[in-house]
């Protein structure tokens, strides 16, 4: 089953020009991408090393457990490797990669059987000051679950804008919508979070500020 709001990761930067464009592409990314396109598999390892944390964290935000996040992250990099010949550098490599990641995670989420919500596998801290740690972790768990319950568009917007700290324009490029739509989705997402977390994690976040 393919999620209704799926993105096409290959559209981004899949123009007909044979060489990488200068716009939005970091120089070290450009060198690695060109090497990959020339068949140097080792160069892709440099891109994996550079973006593995971002991709893993993004995937974790969708699946809320390490096991699935690990599977998703590997899948994202495999898809990127297969499609890197079509990457023309019309956006930042990270933007292109995030789009693949979002699509992969949305499809994974859609394929998960109903009722099988992801388990948050963050373990409680048993070290010194464990009491405060448990409270903090419990609050974080509540927030992650609240984010997980958001509709796909709002959830994706929160993940890309708040967690990945992308600009509205970058988020719009990834999800294929206008900046105005991104802002509207973010506003509704924050409102939904506020309602879900009222009296709980919001108070905790207020104290933590």
């Amino acid at each position: 089953m393919i999620v209704e709001w799926a993105l096409d990761p290959l559209v981004l930067g899949a123009a007909s020009e044979p060489s990488l464009r200068a716009t939005g592409l970091r120089e070290d990314d450009r060198a690695a991408v060109e090497a990959c396109q020339n068949g140097e598999r080792e160069a892709f390892g440099r891109l994996v090393e550079r973006y593995q944390r971002d991709v893993y964290r993004l995937c974790y935000r969708y699946v809320n457990n390490h096991h699935d996040a690990n599977d998703m992250a590997q899948e994202v990099f495999l898809k990127a490797y297969r499609a890197i010949g079509k990457f023309r550098g019309e956006s930042a490599f990270s933007t292109w990669l995030y789009r693949i990641a979002v699509n992969t995670c949305l499809n994974f989420r859609a394929a998960r059987r109903p009722g099988a919500e992801p388990l948050d596998d963050a373990l409680p801290d048993a070290g010194p000051g464990a009491g405060a740690g448990v409270e903090t972790r419990e609050r974080e768990r509540l927030v992650r679950e609240a984010v997980a319950r958001l509709p796909d568009k709002q959830r994706t917007t929160v993940i890309l804008k708040i967690y990945q700290e992308l600009t509205h324009e970058e988020v719009a490029g990834i999800v294929g919508s206008s900046v105005g739509t991104v802002k509207a989705n973010l506003f509704h997402a924050l409102n939904n979070l506020r309602k879900q977390l009222a009296g709980g994690a919001l108070d905790g976040a207020s104290r933590a500020r």
Binding site: Q52, Q74, A122, Y163
Partner: protein, 185 residues
């Protein structure tokens, strides 16, 4: 702004980002409802940001890279025959076209003899007509001489010639030439 002068939904994110207009800023300073909304939205962002992703083991990142690399290599081995095969597309297309032609072509019919444009030459005989053949008379003369030598073995004739003296040989040649000349005339 709404009819009541409140901040609209579309503007809230810009307001949170610090891009409020002067009018919006003035309204927020005086409107309790909008001030509360702004405060809750900021709390929502703070709460969301406070939920960190649990950091995996430091060894995990190396394992992730290794797994990705191994899957790429594995996949590359499985798919390696396809690009190579596709690289032979022009040759394969040529072979396929050739095979199609051979399979569908009915074969060439035997070529019929073309009518020649050259005139037919008259029959040619290497020998002149009997009445004009001078050589025939020579052969007849030789036949008569052979009758004179009946009973003499050919080896004996050769032996006789060999035994002739030089003068007798010259006389014989002279007689033969004279005889031939007389027969021709």
């Amino acid at each position: 702004m709404t009819m009541q002068g409140h901040v609209t939904d579309e503007r809230w994110i810009d307001v949170i980002d610090g891009a409020a207009t002067a009018h919006e800023s003035a309204h927020l300073a005086s409107c309790l409802e909008c001030g509360k909304t702004l405060s809750e939205l900021r709390l929502g962002i703070a709460a969301a940001r406070s939920a960190e992703v649990p950091e995996p083991s430091p060894l995990y990142w190396q394992a992730l890279r290794r797994n990705v690399d191994e899957r790429i290599v594995g996949e590359g081995v499985e798919r390696s025959w396809l690009p190579r095969l596709l690289g032979w597309r022009p040759a394969l297309a040529g072979l396929a076209a050739l095979a199609l032609i051979v399979a569908l072509y009915p074969g060439r019919a035997p070529r019929e003899a073309r009518p020649t444009t050259l005139a037919t030459l008259p029959a040619w005989d290497a020998l002149p007509p009997t009445a004009e053949d001078q050589g025939l008379a020579v052969l007849q003369g030789l036949g008569a001489a052979e009758e004179d030598l009946v009973g003499v073995a050919s080896s004996s004739v050769i032996g006789l010639v060999d035994e002739l003296s030089e003068a007798e040989t010259e006389a014989l040649v002279h007689e033969l030439r004279s005889g031939l000349a007389g027969r021709r005339s």
